[in-house]
Subunit: 595 residues, 2 copies
């Protein structure tokens, strides 16, 4: 019997003991994180599937894994021989997890869930949907506890302060701001569960997960006191003393549940039901009334402060220098030395790590040569890494965590003279990127109202891309952050000044190549003329766009002017930081074009 | 004591007798209609306010009317001396009706509502919101019954058939289609409550309300039978016999409630909770389980059939002829004869009524000269009608009901050489109209994703308009119909082929002038190139756009080409139907422009 089958067998024994006929593994952690510490990678343990998205359901007779199209091939390979069925999300014939459970279980039976890894919203939705089948959702312990041998422990990495010279506001001021917002809602407490919300509020950072500089913990803001729930060993004595001096009360990570349970005074607590797990909710004292509201720290941190934007500009210059050095290396190397996609990823990291204030990569770089560029979330490995030849498109999506900003940039590089179709595709993507970068719109406009700008040129030619156009980006925090977005789907949050967002249209031709051009932009005010306040964007990212791949006749004079001005700015801001060879190289890459 | 005060006093007596401390007058009818028969104009009776939108609340001590900014001035005037307070919707200081009731009533008291004039959704929302104040929502009789002397009776106008030569599908086929959809939802019955849904389903029309060719009635589609609830006198014998022959069972209008109540077999009924009144819901038999679903007739009728589109093209030609004759008359008359906005409205009606298949206006025309054009829903009356001089902008928004189509068109006419600002404004509006008319977009795109096209040129100049860009238009039915829309606000319905929608960006300068250019467009398929099916629009409306008001330098060659081709088409399609004088006139109006 293989390892997977054995794990599932043990889990079924645990299920019987717990009195549930099926068990759900959400794939996330108690903080609803995108990147999850190894301790909570139960999906990979139980199924063998190593992709970054998916959920698993196990009944007494069957087991299934739901994942999206990015991972169909990988999941098929990894699930082979495990007896776990692959459920392809987005296909008409695929049953939803709820339908699957409804089919597997009899009326009156129970679905077990680890309530600590399910948000209140998810739990309620399960409960509502499954009640139609008369199936009960039963919060049980984490049943993997006794099943998973050598399970990684919960990380206890050290927490560090985000240096005062980089922060936008002291934690005292942030807490004060949160309290003002709490008072507006008549709340006595604010529960902070998302790791980036907690890190932002307290100006603390950590290394508990890959790429996101966050640490495991919970926070509770009271009107007078603040409680921070983290493992004691994570705090060195000086920081512990400093926090204590600032009247931030330290409690063990696990005590958040008993803390919530022991609130003995009639009170109200602000809770974000999409970010708070059901176990916390279940533990909340009867005296404490939950008030549902979207996370206030999430809303506040999305609007970067002036001082943060200033820092980001500095970080962008250093990231731009690293990118130009990378492009120079690529130009020198391709065709002369044997390099693979993986070498490119490593080289990018090397160039960034030489820059001041560098902390690490902001995500695992996507380096897609030729047809790999068409795999939107391509994850290069030793096995898949292609050799890069002096021809075709190379798509490189990467970013850095700096103490003074988080970057995320995509460039698509033509390693030889592109074909007419390649140039047309590249130009249409670029037109979309410029259209969004130069948008002007009234206050209150939402992402779904703006997304068209990035797509219109492609749509006019019957082309499209299957991902969103823009996501929020943290400030030395998660490269993906909410609450707003720029995409076709509705998102209730308007785009507001100070928000840092990615601008990344693309085009992907299966089996041929992928194109994506991504800059970060920041929303700024654009004045008002009697028709309300208008907003727009400024581009933050500084790196040349490959002009070899442009069909100039497809661009109008406004777009050409924008590109020339952008390239002039890239040269002006980066060249003082480059040696002569690279300065000359950059000068060539940023030559103005003419219609 | 004036008439209004007397009415309110009597209402308060009725309230006491019914045991409620406040009473709500919704302003609509049992069908949630936009245009309401006089019988249900209780808002106007009780308050004296004659605007087309508003709600009234009466408590034992106070009374208040909520309406929107279009009607602030009118309401202030009409409410003077009545003791009814004007509640200005959209102002921060205005309490919501729920807040007002919460303030007026004590815990445990009751708000009375006429459940027949409140949708299920509205009723539930009231109940939920008022439960916070521990106030009960109590469905009582229509308390105006004994208060309103000489109340207009429920109209018993004759119903007529939509001629077979114009309909897109027989009612038998429509009913069959509805039954297929019902079966997908496992439903035994479909309840039809919206008057346009009913008229569409049965290919019947009426004259019970202004402008919308509908009749009062309810329908129930069963899997075998169809019930139509209408007053018997509305059906002449031949039609009654025809319907009976087609197995459509006729029942009196009021018997719908007892019918629902007497369903004795366990069954499921599809109900649209936004279109079905709470009284019907309350009367539904315990045996019959309501299944909530958006109205299927609403969804089906929005996608016009090929044969309907063909007819609409014909209607558009005749409507275009009427418009050209109107423009010719205007050109001959302004400056030579004294004419007012009201004369323009009458003249428009006259020109349309000379056309074949004309049935009536599709709404009360908006004729706004100079600053009146900036009042978005300006309703000209004898008192307000301005004299029209040979200078400034005249905005004319009008439409006709033809047996073969419903039209809705806005043109803004420069009665002298416009100023630079006027021309710039006009051109920016036109650019938006052209951008939407020439859109190309993937299947699944929603109105909020497309709305930007109509606004982008304005937004780039810091300008905007405060209304939606596009509403659905019926086929010899209501000029406003759902379910889709093109506006900033999210609407779950995608734009689908066959949908007829208005394309009407505008710009309004308070106290100066208003500009709106409106054509109807129909969504059509635009092929597919490996990136999914694409859709676009064809413009249906045929009428010249005033080129005097264009700043050509603001338009790009694509826009100029579109306008020239459109004008060529307008001339080609309308000129054969015009006499020589008007043909020459149209030739001038449709001359190509050059950059």
């Amino acid at each position: 019997m293989n390892k997977i089958a054995k794990g599932i067998e043990s889990l079924r024994t645990e299920m019987k003991a717990a009195g549930v006929q099926a068990f759900y593994i959400s794939g996330t952690d108690p903080h609803q994180s995108e990147y999850v510490p190894d301790h909570w990678q139960g999906r990979a343990f139980i199924s063998g599937f190593t992709g970054s998205a998916g959920t698993v359901l196990v009944s007494q007779n069957e087991a299934a894994l739901w994942t999206d199209s990015r991972y169909f091939l990988q999941a098929e390979r990894e699930l082979e021989g495990t007896g776990i069925q692959l459920m392809k999300l987005g296909m008409a014939e695929t049953p939803s997890p709820v339908e699957w459970i409804g089919n597997q279980l009899f009326k009156g039976e129970k679905l077990g869930v680890d309530a600590s890894c399910l948000s209140i919203n998810q739990f309620n939705s399960f409960q509502k949907e499954l009640s139609k089948f008369q199936i009960e959702v039963s919060p049980v312990e984490d049943l993997l506890m006794n099943v998973w041998e050598n399970r990684p422990t919960i990380p206890v990495d050290k927490i560090f302060e985000h240096d005062e010279k980089f922060v936008g506001q002291t934690r005292r001021d942030k807490i004060e701001h949160l309290r003002q917002e709490m008072k507006k809602s008549g709340a006595d407490y604010l529960l902070i569960t998302a790791l980036d919300d907690l890190a932002w509020t307290l100006n603390l950072r950590g290394t508990d997960v890959d790429f996101n500089p966050v640490f495991l913990g919970y926070g509770v803001i009271g009107l007078e006191k603040v409680w921070l729930f983290v493992d004691e060993v994570k705090l060195e004595k000086p920081l512990r003393e400093k926090l204590t001096y600032e009247k931030i009360l330290l409690k063990p990570y696990n005590e958040v549940n008993s803390f919530l349970n022991e609130i003995s005074v009639s009170s109200q607590m602000l809770i974000d039901p999409s970010k708070t797990n059901q176990q916390l909710f279940n533990n909340l004292s009867d005296k404490c009334h939950p008030v549902y509201r979207n996370s206030i720290p999430t809303e506040l941190k999305a609007k970067k402060m002036g001082i943060e934007i200033d820092h980001i500009h500095h970080a962008m210059r250093r990231d731009g220098v690293a990118m130009v050095e990378f492009l120079y290396w690529l130009n020198q190397t391709v065709g002369n030395e044997e390099i693979t996609e993986l070498d490119v990823a490593r080289k990018l990291h090397d160039f960034r790590s030489k820059q001041a204030n560098f902390f690490g990569d902001s995500f695992f770089p996507i380096v897609g040569y030729r047809e790999h560029g068409a795999v939107v979330h391509y994850h290069v490995t030793d096995e898949t890494a292609k050799n890069i030849q002096p021809n075709g498109f190379l798509l490189v999506d990467s970013g850095g965590q700096y103490f003074d900003g988080t970057t995320d940039i995509t460039r698509t590089i033509a390693l030889s003279e592109p074909t007419e179709q390649e140039k047309k595709d590249f130009t249409l993507v670029l037109k979309g990127m410029i259209a969004l970068a130069t948008a002007k719109f009234p206050e209150g406009t939402k992402g779904c109202n703006l997304d068209l700008l990035a797509r219109k040129a492609l749509w006019q030619h019957g082309l499209n891309y299957g991902h969103g156009t823009g996501h929020g980006v943290g400030y030395f925090l998660n490269v993906h952050e909410g609450p707003m977005s720029i995409r076709q789907e509705f998102n209730e949050y308007a785009i507001q000044s100070g928000m840092v967002i990615s601008n990344e249209p693309g085009l992907y031709r299966d089996g041929e190549y992928g194109i994506r051009i991504e800059n970060l932009i920041v929303c700024v005010e654009k004045g008002e003329l009697g028709f309300g306040k208008f907003l727009g964007f400024e581009t933050l990212t500084l790196c040349p766009i490959d002009q070899k791949a442009i069909t100039i006749s497809l661009m109008d004079s406004f777009e050409i002017d924008w590109l020339n001005q952008y390239h002039q700015r890239v040269f002006d801001e980066l060249s003082p930081l480059l040696d002569d060879k690279k300065k000359t190289f950059l000068k060539e890459l940023t030559q103005p074009i003419h219609s």
